[in-house]
Symmetry: C2
Subunit: 127 residues, 2 copies
DNA sequence: TATTCATATGATTACTTATTCATATGATAA
DNA sequence: TTATCATATGAATAAGTAATCATATGAATA
């Protein structure tokens, strides 16, 4: 810790107590990774639209294509990511495959984020 | 709609009612974009760590560097993104600049996502 | 059992985003 | 009023991700 490259400001960074406080409360490394992976799934507009569509209805791939105006390959690739992360489940019915959400937190997370957006819009609209 | 390239499965996709139902409830286009932008901010591990650190304490840039083991440029660049999206605010005190969160939803969103992660872990640990 | 339909997958390309390095800015202190 | 410290910023490169296109799979039907 002493001969390492100095990162802290000045000789005696006045905030070491803060740093230690934060450090003790922080999620651990692998949780950060899982969190960021989860948010990554929501961060692509196409995937987000797919997720939101599935919030309300079980849908087959072609329904999603039609609904979102996307081609089949695009939708399937994104569904693959969602599948791999266990965010959606699916069932086969004849030739079609129906996707639905496999998580109860998703709706809450999106709702929170939407609340944030709407509040921002209000704030800006009112100034 | 008739001479467009056909996206819907078969001649008579049986789920047009579903599609219309979903369509009527969906967030609008610009909201999707804002949502995905918001999630994009959380989707980078470095940024996420910065955000989580600021959940608990107002911190200066060099505190963040020290805490997260990152170089100053990395942290400043990411803070710039957070600033641009109005997710953090900052104040100058002498040579140092202190950052803090400027949003009440952030903690909730991360907490939800963390709940999801933990539940997944439990599920897998128990099988 | 050959054909069609719905979906999945692999490989390539195009795009986006983060990291790095060098330098600029703005405040303080010598 | 120059030197130093904390931070910001720009440009270049590197890394990661999505779109596209071609093809594969697996079920149903003729």
């Amino acid at each position: 810790m002493e001969d390492e490259e100095k990162l802290v400001c000045a000789e005696n960074c006045p905030h070491l107590n803060k740093i230690n406080n934060v450090k003790s409360l922080e999620p651990k490394a692998d949780e950060y990774q899982k969190l960021s992976n989860m948010f990554k799934l929501f961060s692509d507009e196409t995937r987000l639209k797919i997720i939101c569509s599935l919030l309300k209805e079980e849908l087959c791939v072609c329904d999603l294509c039609e609904l979102l105006g996307l081609n089949q390959s695009q939708v399937s690739h994104q569904l693959q990511l969602l599948r791999n992360s266990k965010l959606v489940k699916f069932r086969r019915e004849g030739k079609q495959i129906f996707y639905s959400l496999d998580d109860e937190h998703v709706e809450l997370i999106i709702q929170m984020a939407l609340n944030h957006i709407l509040e921002e819009e209000e704030k800006n609209g009112m100034l």
